[in-house]
Symmetry: C2
Subunit: 231 residues, 2 copies
Amino acid sequence: MIDELAVIIDSLVPGDFLPSEPKLANQLGVSRATLREAMRVFEGRGLIIRRQGVGTLVASPPQIIESGIETLESIESQARRIGLEVTMGDLGIKYRQPSSEELERFAMLNGLNVVEISRVIEAEDRPVAYLIDIMPEDLLPGETQGSDFRGSLLDLMIQRDHPAISHANSEVMAISAPPDVARQLNIQRGDVLLCLESWLFTQEGTVIDHTYSYFLPGTFRFHVLRRPAEG
Amino acid sequence: MIDELAVIIDSLVPGDFLPSEPKLANQLGVSRATLREAMRVFEGRGLIIRRQGVGTLVASPPQIIESGIETLESIESQARRIGLEVTMGDLGIKYRQPSSEELERFAMLNGLNVVEISRVIEAEDRPVAYLIDIMPEDLLPGETQGSDFRGSLLDLMIQRDHPAISHANSEVMAISAPPDVARQLNIQRGDVLLCLESWLFTQEGTVIDHTYSYFLPGTFRFHVLRRPAEG
DNA sequence: CAGTGGTCTAGACCACACG
DNA sequence: GTGTGGTCTAGACCACTGA
């Protein structure tokens, strides 16, 4: 069945709509649930786009952002390098009390809040990443004040001299999209995401930022040089 | 609903069985389909194990293999470092003609076949990874001859002097398990996997191995140091 | 064999987009 | 309002396990 679906998608050109799910299920002789299961595969590869209330259409092949995973670089600047335009959705800014773990990690002064900043990155009118930064409020770059900020938080932090960024320690994970992230990225919960959880270090060795980056498959390609251990 | 399920799982100790799916669905007041959707989340985190014909049980917290992703090291040797015992399932060995792309990549002599080697790695009686190596047949280490080979292919290649391994170029991906891989790892298709696709280079700069490594969430933790680009 | 999880079906209702 | 995808339900059959 999945092969038949592949043929149908193949026979269409980017921008074309597939028949509606009930029709297509009928046409292929399967239930809608089974059809949707199959469509997930193609959606995961970025070949089709499903939009509630609109329909399912064949996607244009995306421009791929390729980068070494060991390079700490904002999505905006990666995109700029290949001439791809990315836009940032609305900033979600939330101040809250730090957890005890955060108090320790950030070596925060008493009484300060942490600020949690979330935003969706879009390229070619599709969400491609969802970023969350958590940091002590006094370390938030001043440029971000005002809700019209549209640049890269990471770029601001790298460019400023104080505190100076040294590196990030990141963990690489494959996860199934949690409900809140799925909603933000306009995908179904359970869809596959590549996630980097990072702690940003200053040259003094203190942690000033804790981030989660969720990447949709298709637009990003991370590579890494792996070398045998010494000895 | 998912929270109620979390409480139930929390209240059990590793090794305990959950009620059967129909019973549990009834108990929680949802359909079996919905329950299964929720259970996927916990299965993805390695908290529960579902076995067809047996039941669903609460998993013991796995020992976690932690490693820098930029280190080229076999799973066996990573596991040895933390005192975890891993075993290798049966080798699948298949000889076949190289594709035109492989001919070029491997700079192969005419008439040679490539050999495709696949195996499942298990730890604590659970599959944790699925590895596939594709290489020209004349480069396959002699030790692997005979179906009772149980060691690490990568270790053999790193240890031998000719050809000497320099590094691997790997791509990091999050994928939804394809049917064949899902079957091997005893998971459901659509479950989340971290995948490394690598090309192994000799010090002469030629490619001698093409590998896919699929990692189940839970047992492995990859991290990486990310540094700002120069300038 | 009985009981389990794996998969599929048919049908329903909802949230959403767009005219 | 109409049609779309998103989600859920109830029920069925299959494949597998272990007694």
